[in-house]
């Protein structure tokens, strides 16, 4: 696979002072473009036994249904040529409907839900598709500045089909009033790149009277680099 250099503005700014902790953590040297055959042709290969029952249904991991708005999120993962990223590991994690993560360092004064962990994983199918059932996460405060509240989001961690496709990102929900005030979202200079992180409401994916549907497609880096004559 071939990985074209990414135009400035598509990735977030590594040092973006409104997001305070980037100041000392974002590398300041330009990334070194390297020709390395292994990361662009091979990958980490998890066995299917890593998948546990209900890993793709975050509402079914407790004794009873979690509180909140049950939703289904689905989409296709493709590469820059539009080819499906098949049989590829995808992890998700999120806070609960009240905006609280099951994590010892989350100090937000909102209740944990005994029936909601907020994490899962799955593999894409032959069409690059994934489908995840969960609870719509709530917004939460994070202390970066006065009235700093994160827009509701689900974290995605993707392994791709080759190592260099690895991606961690966040999926947002349409029309969130917090976008304009969120330095994490705003650290991405390119407007279109920001918009691509926002899922679409889908009446087609909505399941009768059970749950609303959202679509979130993902394009990983990398093109098929079949040389001429092959």
């Amino acid at each position: 696979m071939k990985f074209d250099a990414i135009a400035p503005g598509i990735y977030p700014e590594l040092v973006y002072p409104p997001y305070k902790s980037t100041t000392h953590r974002g590398p300041t040297q330009p990334l070194l473009r390297v020709d390395a055959p292994v990361p662009v042709s091979q990958n980490i290969a998890p066995k299917s036994r890593i998948l546990l029952p209900n890993d793709a249904d975050l509402t079914a991991q407790g004794e009873a249904a979690p509180l909140g708005e049950k939703i289904v999120v689905t989409g296709r993962i493709v590469d820059e040529d539009g080819k499906p990223v098949r049989n590829s590991l995808l992890e998700v994690w999120q806070c609960n409907a009240a905006g609280r993560y099951r994590h010892k360092k989350d100090q937000h004064d909102a209740p944990l839900d005994p029936n909601f962990n907020g994490w899962g994983k799955m593999m894409t199918d032959d069409d690059g598709r994934y489908r995840l059932i969960t609870i719509k996460p709530g917004p939460y405060p994070w202390g970066n500045h006065d009235k700093a509240w994160r827009p509701a989001h689900i974290h995605f961690s993707l392994f791709g089909n080759v190592y260099a496709q690895r991606l961690v990102t966040q999926m947002y929900f349409p029309n969130d009033p917090l976008f304009a005030y969120d330095p994490i979202f705003q650290s991405i200079p390119d407007e279109a790149a920001r918009q691509r992180l926002i899922s679409r409401f889908s009446i087609e994916e909505t399941v009768s009277d059970q749950m609303l549907g959202y679509e979130f497609d993902i394009v990983l880096r990398g093109r098929d680099a079949t040389p001429f004559g092959i």
Binding site: F3, A5, I6, A7, I10, Y11, P12, Y16, Y19, K20, S21, T22, T23, H24, R25, G26, P27, T28, Q29, L31, L32, V34, D35, A36, V38, P39, V40, Q42, A45, K47, R49, I50, E80, E91, V92, W93, Y101, R102, H103, K105, N117, W119, K121, H155, S157, R166, L167, V168, T169, Q170, I184, S187, D190, A192, A193, R196, L197, V219, L220, R221
Partner: protein, 166 residues
């Protein structure tokens, strides 16, 4: 203009969700690499996740859930440690490819670690592309007990070389 999906930080709350893979780490009796991950002010980063991939271990770890893969969170002191299988990489290849994630790091960073006493270093096509003054940031030094020490610096004079693969 590329239509790729952009990156966002892993944030501070990845640990519970990522733990399943940390627990998959085989208890190897092999090459131990330990270090501390520092920010640009010299402060240890206590919420990083480090992933190490050792392609050469695929065969030796064929029965593992994720052969050749290690995922370790940094501790409160910024420390991390992972054990790799004792297999020789192809000459010039890193002992492991590394991916770094952290709160405040809006895009994961790729790097690689080589063993400073690896006789194959001079043949490394990857190291050959790294300016000589910065190569040491990718080298793990051997400790007296046979383990290796490798720190990660996100910024500063010793900023680790981070890659963008072609």
């Amino acid at each position: 203009m590329s239509n790729i999906t952009t990156s966002q930080t892993i944030g501070p709350f990845s640990h519970e969700a990522w733990k399943w893979a940390t627990d998959m780490t085989p208890a190897a009796d092999g090459i131990t690499i330990s270090g501390i991950i520092y920010d640009g002010a010299g402060v240890p980063i206590n919420d990083a996740q480090i992933e190490a991939w050792q392609p050469a271990a695929a065969k030796a770890e064929a029965e593992a859930a994720i052969p050749g893969f290690r995922r370790v969170p940094s501790g409160e002191d910024g420390g991390f440690s992972f054990q790799l299988s004792k297999v020789d990489p192809a000459p010039g290849e890193p002992v492991a490819y590394i991916t770094v994630f952290a709160r405040g790091l809006v895009k994961h960073q790729f790097t690689a670690v080589f063993l400073a006493d690896d006789a194959g270093l001079s043949q490394s096509a990857i190291l050959d592309q790294v300016p000589s003054a910065r190569r040491a940031t990718l080298l793990a030094d051997r400790n007296a007990d046979g383990s290796y020490r490798w720190d990660i610096h996100m910024q500063g004079d010793r900023e680790t070389v981070f890659f963008d693969y072609e």
